[in-house]
């Protein structure tokens, strides 16, 4: 199972062995990771699972679609590598991926 490293806004990290096929958001919620809420359950409606993909992992995470891009345009604290974590489906290739969470989600 790929290892996902969640980095909180204060720099502390939590490691989760996640099932491939689930989303970065769901893996966080299932493991009680603070800072990713995922209120809409993953249908790209709420932007409460906003995260920053570590620059080294951006290519592996894929491209956001147009709805996600529009939502990301308007999130609090946007960054270059902002994504909605419910839209990133975990693959075996993501083993070791680092995901950071914005302060506004705490």
């Amino acid at each position: 199972m790929p290892l996902i490293i969640y980095k909180s806004h204060d720099g502390s990290t939590q490691e989760v062995h996640a099932e491939a096929g689930t989303s970065i958001m769901q893996a966080a919620v299932d493991n009680g990771i603070d800072g990713i809420l995922g209120e809409c359950g993953g249908c790209c409606s709420c932007a409460t699972c906003h995260c920053y993909v570590d620059p080294a992992w951006v290519a592996k995470a894929g491209e956001p679609d147009s709805t996600e891009k529009d939502m990301l345009d308007c999130v609090l604290e946007p960054q270059e590598t902002s994504r909605l974590s419910c839209q990133i489906i975990i693959t075996d290739e993501m083993d070791g991926m680092i995901i950071a969470m914005p302060e506004s989600q705490y």
């Binding site: 493991n31 249908c43 529009d70 308007c74």
Partner: protein
Amino acid sequence: MSEHCIIIGASHAAAQLVSSLRQEGWEGKISLIGDEPNLPYHRPPLSKAFFVGEKTEDELLIRAADFYEKNKVDLLLGSRVTVIDRDAKKITLEDGAEISYTKLALTTGARVRKIPFTGSELAGVFYMRDLNDVKQTHKFTGPGKSAVIIGGGYIGLETAASLRKIGMKVTVIEAMSRVLQRVTAPEVSAFYTRVHTEEGVDIRTEAGVDAIVGEKHVEGVRLADGSTVAADLVIIGVGVIPNIELAESAGLTIDNGIAVNEFATTNDPDIVAAGDCTNHYNPIYDRKLRLESVQNATDQAKIAAKSICGKPEEYNALPWFWSDQYDLKLQIAGLSQGFDEVIIRGDSEQGRSFAAFYFSEGRFIAVDAINRPKEFMMSKRALTAGQTADPLKLADESIEIKDAFN
């Protein structure tokens, strides 16, 4: 006695409470009691992705099973609480077992409003609230079959869209003069009527139901005008009522829901409540609200957990909602009830993308954004920050949405 928090109702709010209690440092025991056999699951997909088979039962779970194990939660599923004894601080289960608590959380949600139509007991007639309801409907669905939906609210319309997706013939019966009358502006109702019609749904407004007819199973719905619409499946979606009876019989204050203060606490300081079952004060709208939404369940549960852990914080979240139908992503921020002006950005009469901004006495109060995530996101931020908006700028698409708020 050691600390024990019992949560009654395995709902959205319950799933959040468990997580928030542990995050806030609750070290005592946690028990979660639910009358359904399932762990807390996402209800919105029941009328959408789960209904059409795009999501499995496991994928509905809000949090995976091992989350409850890791957080040391005693699960009592398929079990119903019959009595709360506040003096003795214990609850009684259906089987007579008694369990003591130090803190109690009521996340009992809401149940469907049932209308005793003649024939509503026939096989093939359903309400859409529980996983079990939806699983049962699958015997009656299939391409070419007919469905009648009673109620043109969000649940009715989402179900209509799902049934079209699987190739069924769909008729929606609405008693009022337009669909979504209770919750949106006429422009938005007209839009949804147009899209559903384009997608092949027959929408009948100002139509009363006389009876559901059939021999052994449903065969049709007879309307008040005497005509009958054939149906292999009937789905009734006419609203929900809060589950307050347990709280009421325990002597807790009831006021269109379980009355809670800004800290999600009932009139008993050791009992909190969160989600659809509560009635609470919202400072943004300066009135009491009973909301039917995932947002409220989640956000209020966090406040309830803080109160249990002795770290009270005021609840002041902005209500928001969503509804997915066909290729339409509707996102709603705020509450539009009581609006006296609507500004449309984009074209609601053609295409499938616009936003309706609601005002009351010149103040911006809510938005219905259809395939307009930016309008939704910016409105949500503005409403949360207490900003209002310039109607002229909102209506002018040459002005960036972010520049319309002040």
